[in-house]
Symmetry: C2
Subunit: 219 residues, 2 copies
């Protein structure tokens, strides 16, 4: 097998480029690092000591030294369809975006729809936080107005509590960043809290659990 021994190698250059959003968008690709994160059907896969010198792989890693494997994949985008969608409004932290993709998959098999100004779900941080769910349940992109369904916004200042509100399929759970504004004109509900605020990924998990349970009970 050909072993990469030069940092000028095109595959290493591609991995380095893919650390930037601009290049991810341009090439339609992304990277996943580490044995527990690499998914099926890579465009190519580099393994330290097998087809690349370990130092060269470390040098293009976003995790730092000790990276054993980096895969490059095509970005996939789902259609914003299904009985339950999670719409993110300006959630700018990539760790939160990835974590919500993971929770939506685990708790409700739901697609996450990214509105404008969200973090790139294909950034290395988001991919890591999604823990493989980005492969099995890729996100969608849409404007909120383009989605049909019963739109319910999670809002710490709402009067109504999530568990007291009826849900009608299809449901669109709308979540914003922790301190940001939510879109106007939606039914808004809160999760009862004792303290200031929940992390948006935690709020998403609780809401997904509650709504998925309710929908399952309704049959």
């Amino acid at each position: 097998m050909f072993v990469i021994t030069s940092a000028d190698n095109d595959k290493l250059k591609t991995i380095r480029k893919l650390q930037q959003k601009r290049w991810r968008n341009k090439l339609g690709l992304f990277t996943a690092e580490g044995e527990d994160l690499v998914g099926p059907n890579p465009v190519f896969l580099l393994r330290a000591g097998e087809n690349v010198e370990p130092d060269l792989l470390d040098a293009v890693s976003t995790l730092g030294s000790g990276t054993r494997v980096i895969g490059v994949y095509e970005q996939k985008w789902a259609e914003p369809e299904g009985d339950l969608l999670v719409y993110l409004h300006r959630v700018e932290d990539p760790g939160n975006v990835g974590a919500i993709i993971r929770s939506a998959h685990a708790l409700a098999d739901a697609t996450v729809v990214l509105g404008p100004s969200c973090a790139d779900p294909y950034s290395p941080k988001a991919v890591r936080a999604s823990m493989g769910s980005i492969f099995t349940h890729p996100p969608a992109r849409a404007m909120l107005d383009a989605l049909d369904g019963h739109k319910i916004a999670l809002d710490a200042n709402a009067q109504a509590e999530l568990r007291d509100v009826g849900v009608t399929r299809p449901v669109v759970l709308v979540l914003g960043s922790e301190r940001g504004e939510l879109p106007q004109g939606l039914q808004s509900v809160r999760i009862p809290v004792h303290a200031d605020s929940l992390n948006v990924a935690m709020a998403a998990s609780v809401a997904l659990y509650e709504v998925a349970n309710r929908m399952a009970a309704d049959g």
Copy 2:
């Protein structure tokens, strides 16, 4: 006001030391960085441009450049008491420990009890993830055997579902790391999932929400 202009200053040296667990344990102190994280009653507080040169503060920051403020605080430890406790068994990721402290505070006003081999809740990463809850709701330390109450372990492989299980106060929710073993001999329940696994902080949030709701309904 005295302005620190030397990296040899004792306060800067203390902050640097507190990046290490060994020194945090020895001094019983910890740091919080950033306007939204500094809490009340610091041992001392350094503000860029006020009492320390900005470059010197950046140099001791764990966040990198642009840090405006770092506070040093005394570690506090709660007693493992209350109607609802969250016991962490070998949760080694500091971000998860901090996030669970935040969620336990927000969703249930509950104390988090750290068993052996958990991440230090006073590490910079954990403090940041707790978003101030470490100040208002400090964690406790104990062995599981020392806790009284109805112990319920979250386990992805359990037969029973969390929502189907009766709870008797005081409740101790037991959570382990995502791939680790849980203590033996406990009642174990699962959160129904469609995919491999939930992040432990997400699982904690869902379980806290469910159990706190149930306890509130029981009066």
